[in-house]
């Protein structure tokens, strides 16, 4: 319970330059989902907007959590999430199928989703704790790799390639900005570019190889695995500059576009709103990510700096992979578009990221003139 006198001040201190664009984007997403449901608020649009404002309150509360609490729950939180991943795996094995979520009764919890901000938090804590002169030694490399491999491996077992990639990407970016020697990344990149063709020709299964080939040339299998990409490109391409108009998207309404309200919601949007709508979405994400990076740059200490930059990276990864996928620049992996796609788990993850950045923002204002 907050004293009444504090409320206006607390409101005034909110980063409205982000909350307002985000709210507009989400309401825009609600409009797209309204159209995708054939002009109905149910089942997606209303829930989408309500959820956002619910999670927004959560993010604002998260922003008031002191830095110490973050540091204190970093490691235990990570361990608990790993435990939950194992639990999910075990339940799935017993149930005779793969399962990604736990039923808590009032909601379903997807531990792999929480692991995305979780890994950022634990690595920020780890590097903040690590003595600075160790940063070029093995102790700066091996423990984070172990920290990464445990959850990434568990998520791969589910199997959920998209989320495993998101977790790995978050962790690698954390290592990069924490200041690990550059040659590690350069040689890693060279190694990967050598390993990739070897993997492709000698390790991958036929069906995986086929997926890669279809990604490279979706038209080669227009009715099979290339169908998603082809239909998505048709939706976006047919929208033109100004779109077909609200409620007139034939690709989504006639069910040609698969997953029109989740992973391919950007295509649904672009068909009806055209390039203008797409640029609006890109602009909002630019604002949010730019704000996040600015917060990270301004942050008072190493922990909060790494934390904010890591959270920005997590959101960025969602946006980047999803939009590249729907526009045919990346293979089809199941990653939703933040604030537009319908779905509670990803909304929660993204709002945790936003809330964490808001918290960092708050810490830096508490300690004005941070040590830079």
């Amino acid at each position: 319970m907050m004293p009444r006198a504090y409320v206006p001040q607390a409101l005034a201190r909110q980063p409205w330059q982000v909350i307002i664009p985000l709210s507009l984007l989400t309401i825009f997403g609600g409009a797209v989902l309204y159209s995708a449901a054939g002009g109905r608020l149910q089942p997606w649009a209303a829930m989408h907007v309500i959820r956002f404002f619910g999670f927004l309150v959560m993010a604002m509360l998260l922003a008031r959590v002191p830095q110490d609490w973050f540091k204190r729950i970093a490691l235990p939180g990570y361990v608990v999430l790993c435990g939950l991943l194992v639990l999910v795996e075990l339940i799935g094995r017993i149930g005779g199928g793969s399962q990604r979520w736990l039923n808590l009764g009032f909601m379903t919890l997807q531990p792999s989703e929480l692991m995305k901000p979780g890994i950022v938090l634990v690595l920020a804590w780890f590097y903040a704790m690590l003595p600075m002169n160790e940063i070029r030694g093995w102790r700066a490399i091996v423990p984070p790799i172990v920290i990464l491999l445990i959850p990434a491996g568990l998520v791969m077992l589910q199997p959920d390639l998209g989320t495993a990639l998101a977790i790995s990407f978050g962790a690698l970016v954390m290592m990069f900005i924490a200041g690990l020697p550059l040659w590690l990344f350069v040689s890693g990149g060279i190694g990967a570019s050598i390993a990739a063709p070897i993997m492709f020709f000698f390790v991958m299964h036929d069906y995986q190889r086929k997926r890669v080939l279809v990604f490279l040339d979706p038209e080669s299998d227009p009715l099979g695995s290339g169908y998603h990409i082809t239909q998505s490109k048709i939706a976006i391409g047919s929208g033109g500059m100004f779109g077909k108009g609200f409620g007139n998207g034939s690709q989504s309404h006639l069910d040609y576009l698969p997953e029109a309200h989740t992973d391919f919601v950007f295509a649904t949007m672009a068909e009806e709103w055209g390039m203008i709508g797409g640029l609006f979405v890109l602009a909002v994400f630019t604002i949010v990510l730019y704000w996040g990076l600015k917060v990270a740059m301004r942050a008072p200490d190493r922990f909060s700096r790494l934390l904010a930059a890591g959270m920005v990276t997590t959101i960025f990864f969602y946006v980047c992979i999803n939009m590249m996928m729907v526009m045919g620049l990346a293979p089809v992996v199941g990653i939703p578009l933040p604030f537009l796609s319908h779905g509670g788990s990803s909304m929660m993850t993204n709002m945790i990221c936003v809330g964490t950045i808001m918290a960092v923002d708050r810490w830096s204002r508490r300690a004005p003139g941070g040590l830079g």
């Binding site: 900005i177 033109g240 890109l282 790494l306």
Partner: protein, 691 residues
Amino acid sequence: MKKQKLPMTAARLTQTFERRTFLLGAVQGGVGLLLAARLGYLAVAQNAKYRAASESNRVNLSLIPPRRGWVLDRNGTALASNRADFRVDLIPDRLDNPDATLSTLQSLLSLTPDHLADIKDKIDKSRGFQPVEVASKLDWDKFAAVSVRLPELPGVIPQRGFSRFYPSGAAVGHLVGYVGPASADDYVREHNPLLITPGFKIGKDSLEKVFEMRLRGVPGARRVEATASGRVVRELGTREDVPGQPIQLTIHAGLQEYAARRIGLESGSVVVMDCLTGDLLAMVSMPCYDPNSFSDGIGRIEWKMLSEDDHVPLRNKVLRGLYPPGSTVKPMVALAFLEAGLDPHATVNCAGGLRVGNRVFHCWNHHGHGTTDMMKGIYQSCDVYFYHFAQQIGMDAIAKMMRRMGLGSSFPLPYPGQSYGTVPDPAWKLRKYHKEWAVYDTVNATIGQGYMLVNPLQQATYVSRLASGLKHSPRLILDRHAPPSPSMGFRQDHLDLIHAAMNEVVNGRGTAGKARIPIPGVQMAGKTGTAQVVGLNLGNGKGGEWKRRDHGHFICFAPFDKPRYACAVAIEHGGGSGSAYPIARDVMTYLFDQDKAMAVLTDYESQWGGTTQQRMAAKYAAYAAKYGATAPAPPSDDAANDQTDANNRDDEPATPVTDAASPAPEPEASPTPAPSSAPPTPAPSSGAAPQ
């Protein structure tokens, strides 16, 4: 915390962080620009391409099967037409859950178990994208019941369209053929999307098949907005179909149906020709399948019923049934004698048989006909007269006359696979059997036995040529401007003599007195024929096992003095010509007085258990009750077709009855005439036995 560490390191780390975060930001910005550029490329630069792709997704062009051209009789009556109906098809590829869909359809349409089993067979055999007919000729209620449940029945297509209708059913089955959905092979041959349009049918047999392109027409098209799963959202526009061209036949629909019904329980054929033009007025082979139900797809019960019938309803007996013609050849043999210079008043004494070489060939009348000239030889059908003079004249002259009359040849009719039959002569026998012609071969041939085989169409052609003296070729497609047939080159006094003798057969002292037609002023001339099927050692040909009874023939024309119509009737295993000439009499009567003929038919049908249609329906019901869905699946349409073809291709009977090859034992097998039996005991030799 940082103050405790070396400031250089802290500062450097922060610097590294800032540099690398800046790089990260730059990468993110770059990705943002890349995405914006990609968006612009797709939405603006490639807009036209993707707009077209989206339109082709949205708009579904569905073909409307064209209405098939009608098949008309000579007076414009429909032999095959189209009927508007409601139908339901399904596309196997689009079914989510075939079993659930079928059981829903079964309850909605009240399908019988055997019908359901037929549908399952067709789904198994179809190539997935080919539509399978579930039901047609539905009433509105059932059609509506399926239509409202469509959302839960993906892959099911209810539509209103036209289906083929044959008003006289089985009577025109062999004549016109039937239609059916295109088979996979048809689609391979003709890669036309129309062939896999639900509701489209292709000609499967006879005229329907031969004139497919003319009857087919041009499909219409309907543009609809449809979902990815094929559900129609709204109509955008329709182009009407262009119906196929009709074809008009020389057939007389009423006569065709009358003849078909008049054959009744027998297995046989009737061909009626116009003596002035050669037009075919009727061409009937019975029993026959019902082309209406064949066109809905051949069901298992129907197939079982037809394939087990020893009357071979799948064979067109007019074109593909081959029979020894028996004594019906005698008029033309006599004409050959006349042309060879034989005096018609030359006589022979018939004492009931004639010794040829070391064998006695009997006349059908064991008591003998006494002094017999040509007239009497024909109207009494005296075998000895022909045995005697045929040896004098020789086989070559006789065979030449037979060929002139059309025997042993096929005619330019739109039916594939007519049987030629056989007109034997010495050269033929040497070629075929590497044996010299023997005198007894001539003797056999002159009475239409031995190697001789003809089909009913040849018989009809023969009698029309004999009646008119014109070289008619049977015509089926009506052409009112066809050039008249040329003369056969017979001398009119020869023809008059033969005609008079044939008139005597019916209206005088001949063998078919009961064939007189009840029309005042019209006299019919004819000739009977009885053809042995098995050697006399196996049966007497009159009764006993159906398969061993004699074939009955009758050829005739009327009026005898001014021939207008010619007719040939062949009844398989009818037990002799007595089974054939009553049918010929009534069919000819129909041409002059339909009411009189119909009265006779109605009387017969009340004894037979109803009209052809009623009897077939009763038989089907009995089969359905007995076998239900347990009947084996019918072969695919094409295989069924092949099977009918195979049925049709027995140009040579399995065992040609050539007593020359296996002569019946004559001395001991010539019993004294049995006084108790009313019909004369048949000759034990190869003699024909007209009544």
